[in-house]
């Protein structure tokens, strides 16, 4: 059994919370006491049925306003897979929340209201999914019950979305006509939509084969911690603790330490009492090298044959996440894997209007703005381009005054 992490993009009006609630309810992932609380609640649908959206609304403020204002994580599993849902709000003022949820997702569900079709927010959500590099998209055309389960309506929306997907660069797309409210095609195939012969949403989520990009990318191992017991019997023990962020390392592989550039090879890989010959993407291990080199947290071990970019000048896509406007004269921190150094956003190259996808050229970079910037770092970063390696191509900006995370960076090129 493996884990599928997915994000749901859509707004309250599209029935997003209802869709997740339906997925949990129909897959019998709700326990008796939670169900009891659900039935006890005063919130009901117009027809008197229970409001499944309550299952995903977490905090008081949200319950009061009836909107999701943060990223809520939900867990359920079937006998095929364990699922982690990042439920994020759909309105434009919560773009940063969606970017956050999307950064860890392998799949995105994009909800379209069958009555409205492809609208501004659909463009926005699709652009963000593409920007964050999510490889698989499921377009759920919801509220089919409100359009008499019309195939023509569905086909029109599919065609419109195809045009959009070319524009934003999305490739693997699955289309499913659903009604979250009535339960059509969520867990069970719909009797009302007999013209659709494909998978229900859950069946698709259970069976979709995803290429894990990080396992195919080149071998990277950011060092988090150096284990040096310095006891009598372990006097010379020196293990580099970390998690393989992409690719895989084998014993005897030639590795280079960056940014210093020293070479060595792998003597041993450890995981408590085990000594595996190979450590692949996602594994937390301890690596021993054949040579004694000065390595500390913030350094990265890479396969010598396939080295990343090393630069202090980087072009990146930036999503700004703070209420204070980006200040190009200010020094921020940049955190890239275990490495933290100072940086300056040297230049705003352009911004993208995320509703129309048009480029804009003005200097103000505000909350939820997205665009291309040029960054200068105090120390060189050993990074991969985000489009080739998400794990070694993403970074965050931290405001040195407040310590808050204020920006998400997708590193795209060496700067000039």
């Amino acid at each position: 059994m493996d884990i599928l992490k997915f994000i749901t993009a859509g707004s309250v009006d599209d029935g997003k919370s209802t869709l997740i609630g339906r997925l949990l309810y129909d897959s019998e992932s709700i326990l008796a006491d939670q169900l009891e609380a659900l039935h006890r609640s005063n919130r009901k649908n117009d027809d008197g049925s229970i409001d499944l959206a309550i299952l995903t609304d977490g905090l008081k403020a949200e319950r009061e306003q009836g909107i999701t204002i943060d990223v809520a994580y939900k867990y359920f599993q079937t006998d095929k897979r364990k699922f982690i849902i990042a439920d994020t709000p759909g309105h434009i003022q919560y773009t940063r929340n969606m970017v956050t949820g999307a950064s860890n997702a392998n799949l995105a569900i994009i909800l379209i209201d069958a009555r409205k079709g492809v609208i501004e927010q659909t463009i926005r959500h699709s652009f963000l999914v593409s920007l964050l590099g999510i490889q698989q998209v499921v377009v759920c055309i919801n509220k089919m019950d409100m359009v008499d389960y019309s195939e023509a309506v569905y086909e029109n929306i599919v065609n419109d979305y195809k045009a959009l997907s070319y524009k934003v660069g999305l490739k693997n797309i699955k289309y499913i006509p659903v009604s979250a409210l009535k339960g059509d095609n969520i867990v069970y195939p719909s009797l009302n939509i007999d013209w659709y012969k494909g998978d229900s949403l859950l069946h698709f989520l259970e069976t979709v084969e995803l290429e894990v990009d990080d396992s195919k990318a080149h071998a990277r191992f950011p060092v988090q911690w150096v284990i040096r017991p310095q006891t009598d019997d372990l006097h010379d023990y020196r293990g580099y603790a970390g998690r393989v962020s992409s690719g895989s390392f084998k014993v005897n592989d030639k590795v280079t330490v960056l940014p210093s550039g020293f070479h060595s090879s792998i003597e041993k890989i450890e995981l408590l009492d085990e000594e595996p010959d190979e450590a692949s993407a996602g594994m937390s291990v301890t690596i021993h090298l054949k040579d004694e080199i000065d390595i500390s947290r913030g350094d990265i071990l890479v396969n010598t044959q396939y080295q990343p970019e090393v630069s202090q000048l980087i072009e990146a896509d930036l999503c700004w996440m703070d209420t204070r406007t980006l200040d190009t004269s200010l020094t921020y921190f940049i955190q890239h894997n275990s490495k933290v150094t100072r940086c300056r956003i040297q230049e705003i190259l352009y911004k993208v209007n995320i509703n129309t996808l048009e480029k804009e050229y003005n200097e103000d970079f505000k909350l939820n703005d997205i665009g291309r910037v040029l960054i200068k770092t105090a120390e060189p970063l050993a990074f991969d381009l985000y489009q080739n390696n998400k794990a070694n191509g993403g970074a965050i900006i931290i405001d040195s005054r407040t310590n808050v995370t204020v920006g998400a960076l997708m590193l795209r090129a060496i700067g000039e």
Partner: protein, 301 residues
Amino acid sequence: MSKHQLDYLDELEAEAIYILREVAGQFEKPALLFSGGKDSITLVRLAEKAFRPGKFPFPLVHIDTGHNFIETIEYRDAMIKRIGEKLIIGHVQDSINEGKVVEQKGKNASRNALQTVTLLDTIAKYQFDACIGGARRDEEKARAKERIFSVRDEFGQWDPKRQRPELWNIFNGKIHKGENVRVFPISNWTELDVWNYIRREKIELPSIYFAHKREVITRNGQLMGASPFLNMDDDDIIENRTVRFRTIGDMTCTAAVESYAYHIDDIIDEISASKISERGARMDDKVSEAAMEDRKKGGYF
């Protein structure tokens, strides 16, 4: 997924180890909050995987309400001996003696709420800047939005609006003096995941997790273990039942469930088919729908 995809328990384990090592790398004075429950016992196992053959870069901290199950305390002391790590105990009784908190009265009196003060005092005394805990997002709705690195202000408060975005696997642990971060390495685990991991790793647990005979009374539809800590009156009828505990907290607020699960396989079967979620057996969450959120804002775990 691809051939390289890890099994889900391996993936959860690797993520938790990664988070523990981030704590070690980013903080000056971290601590691991140890309750004696299965989640914090799992954390200890994960810490062994993260840092052995070295020592843990943090002590274990136990906030002792004084109303613990004796089995929990015995387990704790044996475990500390086995792993050879440092244990710091914060006593709720001390907070009561110092007049910082007042013991609750009445039938449902519990020291559960009081431990928040002892916890915050212990954090202040030792100047911990990061406290690792075993909370999971699947436990309760308010926890579903909890970050893995959750910043608390100098009053220990959690502000849902001030939470930092967490992108990819990058955790921002920068804080101002006086603030601290609660870190939850097993955020993404469910109750069933924890049990499956305990089985796979053959981790020993306090005996009260397994079915045993115990004197209980029924309160508000829940089975409470009879103890000197529970305020009882003539309405309370003591019965001898075969029960086990799904969570281990204070004796006054942790309910038992009727069970014949004597072995971990039985427990996993029981949970897989269970009709009540784990926190359903916690009286402290029942008070209102927003009970957990209110306690979190006040500094409760």
